[in-house]
Amino acid sequence: MNEAPKLNSFKAGPDEEGRFGIFGGRFVAETLMPLILDLQDEWNKAKSDPTFKADLEKLGAHYIGRPSPLYFAERLTAELGGAKIYFKREELNHTGSHKINNCIGQILLAKRMGKTRIIAETGAGQHGVASATVAARFGLPCVVYMGATDVERQAPNVFRMKLLGAEVKPVTAGSGTLKDAMNEALRDWVTNVDSTYYLIGTAAGPHPYPEMVRDFQSVIGQEAKEQILAAEGRLPDLVIAAVGGGSNAIGIFHPFLDDEGVKIVGVEAGGKGLDGDEHCASITAGSPGVLHGNRTYLLQDGDGQIKEGHSISAGLDYPGIGPEHAWLNDVGRVEYVPIMDHEALEAFQTLTRLEGIIPALEPSHALAEVIKRAPKMGKDEIILMNLSGRGDKDIFTVGKILGMGQ
């Protein structure tokens, strides 16, 4: 077959100004602008530097444990009686989630830039743990901002961060979740511009972060594509991932964006339902606005004040979403759907019992959508899901809800 050159690629963004359509951009205080421009320069240089690429690959293979396996979930597939279900096992990475892919990339940049201090925000604590880990590995002090609510519900990760030598600063402003942690990290950064590198944990924030984080996470989709071709000789019919800020999702989606036959679905946190305010479905139930350096879909009121979301999963508890997802939604390439707390909780248990894998609550949302869709698909069809993290951090939360005493 003759492949015509693709004039209209879904992979072309962002433009020079960091825009994906109307989304993205650089909405930051002047103090940060020179830093963001420096970062962009350094990132552009690093991208074409073979040493940088080699360092990334070496650490990927020997420190993170890449490539992560592609696993055919045989018993889950049989139970659902439809499409074949494959998991991209990012939960087997060092530190237990996809977050480390991005952290390794960014800390190499921080080193190149001569920065001597790392700050990060975290929701579930997975990004905080990954940041604390790479900071330890590269010998840099690390401060992690974490909402006070999350400090409580993700206690095991707080302990891990502390063991790794990071300072965890609980943030009590707002509802004490990811958005508030990000505000506080930005305040730290504005204050300590000279020494500090802000290691953002998701594909959001001002340009170049959304692009940079996407590129570091795209290793997920690139590997998965090769692996599924090796296993099945063809591409999947459906690719699914959970969306908080959107880094694991864009990482697995991006390499498939121009593959026409591949349907792509992002799963947002539907919380207790979209009727009230207790959800985090920024795309399904929000509207475009400007927060944390970029224009994107946000949960907000009529006065442009940002609402506090809710999700059972701390990692999805963010009232915004990365700007590339906002664009992919508007151009119709990716479909975004909500999954409720209770559905995610059920999926969590299903996977644990059927496959002996304890997933994090974040990818449990993606799994709940898989459980809905697989039975309606043919047995010859293929679903690829990003299993972005393991559930060790969530077992106490889940145990409490299920009334299982410890």
Binding site: G25, E30, T31, L35, N183, R187, G289, Q305
Partner: protein, 279 residues
């Protein structure tokens, strides 16, 4: 530049002293009290008023202004009401320039055109929008300048000579020099460092340069005012308001007089600035 802003800076310069710019949060702790505060400011010696528009996520502000924003939002403040505050004030005072200060999202949601129309109608002279750097000028800065509303930019210690021209390009009214890298409410750095920075900016622009972030006392105002065209005081006023409130955050009889007394003191500071410098 609006005639009102230009005239005020010229008149004050003719007096041989720096301009006193005072910031407070609109609607803190409630609409009526903040209207009374706004009216009291020029009477106590403020030359320009910065009217804060509350935002749920004030990423460049320290705890004092964060809390002021929360009180204001809890009291039901909205952008519509902040504009109403300005309009009511303008009914009584046609000379004191008003600069709206805040974050972009509430303006974006209000709609840029509608916002500029309503701001002009309310007698607004300028805008400071923290999260709109020059790279984002098409959003609000250019439309505002077309409508003859000043767009006042922040310059910071990280704004080096390479970047300064870009920052100054579409700036009008005055340049707001943020005296340190940090959030509002931090400590004031050494005035001699500030004087150097003000000199540097002035070598690139004809616009007046006002200095803020960390100015708390009449003595600070005097020291900064020795080199700058204006002194901005924000957190000190916001703290003064906070300290006068009941435990539930309600205004008391001390709220407005407290602000008045503080601003009177600061105004003595700016009036002594050049005298001291001349010594």
């Amino acid at each position: 530049m609006t005639a009102r802003m230009e005239k005020r800076f010229a008149d004050v310069a003719a007096e041989g002293r720096p301009v006193l710019v005072t910031y407070f949060m609109g609607g803190d702790p409630d609409f009526d009290t903040s209207f009374a505060i706004m009216k009291a400011l020029p009477k106590a010696g403020a030359d320009v008023i910065e009217l804060g528009m509350p935002f749920s996520d004030p990423m460049a502000d320290g705890p004092a202004i964060q809390l002021a924003g929360q009180r204001s939002l809890k009291g039901g403040q909205t952008l519509v009401k902040t504009l109403e505050l300005a309009r009511l004030f303008r009914g009584e005072d046609q000379h004191t320039p008003i600069v709206l200060m805040g974050y972009y999202n509430p303006i974006y949601i209000y709609g840029v055109d509608r916002f500029l129309t309503d701001a002009l109608e309310a007698g607004i002279d300028g805008l400071i929008v923290v999260d709109l750097p020059p790279e984002m000028d098409d959003e609000l800065c250019i439309p505002a300048l077309k409508r003859n509303i000043n767009f006042i930019r922040l310059a910071t210690p990280t704004t080096d000579d390479r970047r300064l021209p870009k920052v100054l390009e579409n700036t009008s009214g005055f340049v707001y020099y943020v005296s340190m890298t940090g959030i509002t409410g931090s400590a004031l750095p050494d005035p001699s460092l500030i004087a150097g920075a003000v000199e540097r900016i002035k070598s690139h622009t004809e616009l007046p340069v006002c200095v803020g972030f960390g100015v708390k006392t009449a003595e600070h105002a005097r020291a900064i005012g020795a080199s700058a065209d204006g002194v901005v005081v924000g957190t000190a006023i916001v703290n003064q308001i906070a300290s006068s409130l009941t435990e539930e955050g309600r205004a008391t009889d001390a709220t407005v007089p407290g602000v008045e007394a503080l601003v009177k003191g600061l105004s003595v500071g700016v009036r002594a600035a050049r005298l001291a410098a001349a010594e």
